[in-house]
Symmetry: C2
Subunit: 337 residues, 2 copies
DNA sequence: ACTGGGGACTAGAGCGCTCTAGTATTTCCC
DNA sequence: GGGAAATACTAGAGCGCTCTAGTCCCCAGT
């Protein structure tokens, strides 16, 4: 029994019949390949329009035995991921590839997202800030090209596109040092992608400035709550004059929390975030931060992904694209008072 | 020429050969339908495991001529949408339906997202806070079941699931009035989904309290920036003692901006947001707000969507589920000073 | 002993496309 | 005017599944 009594979906055959041509010709027109006269093309398109026909992706992909699809795994609640995803859509436009989204969230882990994407036979996978283990990523990479975005990974199996977080963290410290700060604390991101690099960059910069002994890293995280918790710890001990935070969310939580304690920013404390996310740009927050170039990360990632697909398995392994960060000075940093 | 020299994808036939059964049997096992003995099931699963086989969704769906997929259109940058999407994944678990995501963003409009979803032959569409015109939605609804979430819409064509925004706005006003406020301004959301209802609820509540003449609506929007702009306007005129904002983002922008102007909240101004989004819960923001129940919105939406699919075109038209909102009192509202 | 029924399994025809191999028809160039 | 080459089009075999209509075999009932 067919319980659904909507009209059956219109297929290529319907369009062909209406236009008075063969199915193959309709296929030719819709794929935009040569082999049809302009008038026929016109006629086919008109027929399709009248029937409001759209080619069935599933069948199209099945038939060509290529999916022309790149899977994207992203964190549903990560603002920065959303920016990269948007940029990926822009980049995909010119490549002829489609994007399939796999959402990861607290109640739906990355592995699930990946599995569902594999079911769609993506030709490559772009993982944005994945928290999967390196082993898991390498295993995946055996099956299809994998590009990891925004996470440093030493592996020959996958390509990596990331911001130079080491340089970013260093730039933050140097900016603060340039303003006369010496007591600079880093609130880190724990095991989050990028956290280790930023921590290393921070330490290296402190050493280079001869502030080695004053380097302090306190545990933070990637959410506002983490920033708030870090603020408590920060204010309890000997107060630094400046802080570099793992990301803008953490920084903004920290900012709000210290301001609530009557500590003025940047008067009493300078603060640098990371990512240049939306929140940093708000005039009421105006966070000095290190910007990641989502557009370049996205276009590089897609380029690597489709490049690898085209080259097949025998291409150069484990390429890495490092995009330089950019210091954006706003109003949470000032000369040490 | 086959440029890609990865091993060809493993198919059902491979599994069948390895397990020594027919393809059909493998299909039976993977669909979990009766018709295979426990031992055979075991054997097939083992074979699939060894080959790390996953059924090809495209083919599976093509073959069954059902996609068992519900398309979800959401705003990539809307925190609240992300919450609903996550809840939808949870709800989908029990229905046997899969979710396909269609992302809308400033550089990728909803129509594109919808078109791409249609290409995957979704059986129904869930539109979260769509900005599409009513006509466009109705046209869509002729082709497949459509459920609109978080936007009031008077139509027979689609089902609607929304929070009772009228009641929500009223609850906000009543809460403030209960604290002695009389001069209460509403910062609205313009043409955003839900904005009109909330505005009406605000006006109705003010009237009911005999504060009709003091009702003031100033233009806002759904972003922090909109809130900041509204703050400027707010502080320029005769200052109210309380504000209800269109959503939490708008409220938090407003909050930061007025605090920057040395206006204490809630001492000098009480503020109520809407949505109970993440940001409202931050201890440094602690925004009193009207919570929308994303989980219930999501489960109702999915229920309606699959219900309509099951019933076919002849089912009750234009159902509406209205989920009650909930006042969450935090620390941005206080008795009028 | 014969029938009937049910469980386990298979053959094979789709699903709506793509794409190779082909058939007409026209054009072009000595 | 005849062959080559290009252009416009079609036939039909897949792609990897699902699912209907079987086949086969074993056992209960009479």
């Amino acid at each position: 029994m067919r319980s659904n009594n909507r009209p059956p979906a219109v297929t290529m055959a319907d369009v062909a019949a209406r236009a008075g041509v063969s199915r193959a010709l309709v296929s030719i027109v819709f794929r935009g390949v040569p082999g049809a006269s302009p008038e026929t093309r016109q006629r086919v398109m008109a027929a399709a329009e009248q029937l409001s026909y759209r080619p069935d992706q599933r069948a199209r992909l099945l038939g060509s035995n290529r999916s022309r699809t790149v899977g994207v795994v992203f964190g549903l609640h990560h603002e920065f991921h959303a920016e990269v995803v948007e940029a990926l859509f822009g980049a995909a436009e010119t490549t002829g590839y489609d994007l399939a989204l796999g959402a990861a969230a607290p109640t739906r882990d990355e592995a699930r997202a990946v599995q569902s994407l594999l079911g769609y036979r993506c030709e490559a996978l772009v993982l944005i800030g994945p928290t999967l283990s390196q082993a898991a990523i390498e295993e995946l990479a055996e099956r299809l090209p994998v590009v990891v975005v925004a996470r440093a990974l030493r592996t020959q199996a996958a390509d990596v596109v990331r911001t130079d977080d080491f340089a970013g963290a260093r730039a933050a410290v140097e900016h603060l040092a340039g303003l006369g700060h010496q007591s600079i604390v880093h609130v880190d991101g724990g095991r989050s992608p990028g956290a280790a690099e930023r921590r290393r960059g921070y330490r290296a910069a402190m050493s280079a400035l001869g502030l080695e002994s004053r380097a302090v890293v306190i545990p933070g995280g990637l959410t506002e709550e983490d920033g708030e918790r870090a603020a408590a710890e920060l204010l309890a001990g000997t107060r630094p004059t400046a802080v570099t935070a793992f990301n803008d969310h953490c920084a903004s939580g920290l900012l709000a929390a210290v301001r609530a304690q009557e500590v003025s920013v940047p008067g009493g404390l300078s603060l640098v975030g990371y990512d240049d996310s939306h929140v940093a740009g708000l005039s009421s927050v105006a966070l000095t931060t290190i910007a990641q170039d989502a557009t370049r990360l996205a276009s590089s990632a897609l380029e690597l992904a489709v490049g690898r697909v085209a080259e097949g398995a025998d291409c150069a392994a484990g390429r890495e694209v490092v995009v330089p960060p950019r210091l954006v000075v706003r109003r949470t940093t000032a000369r040490v008072g």
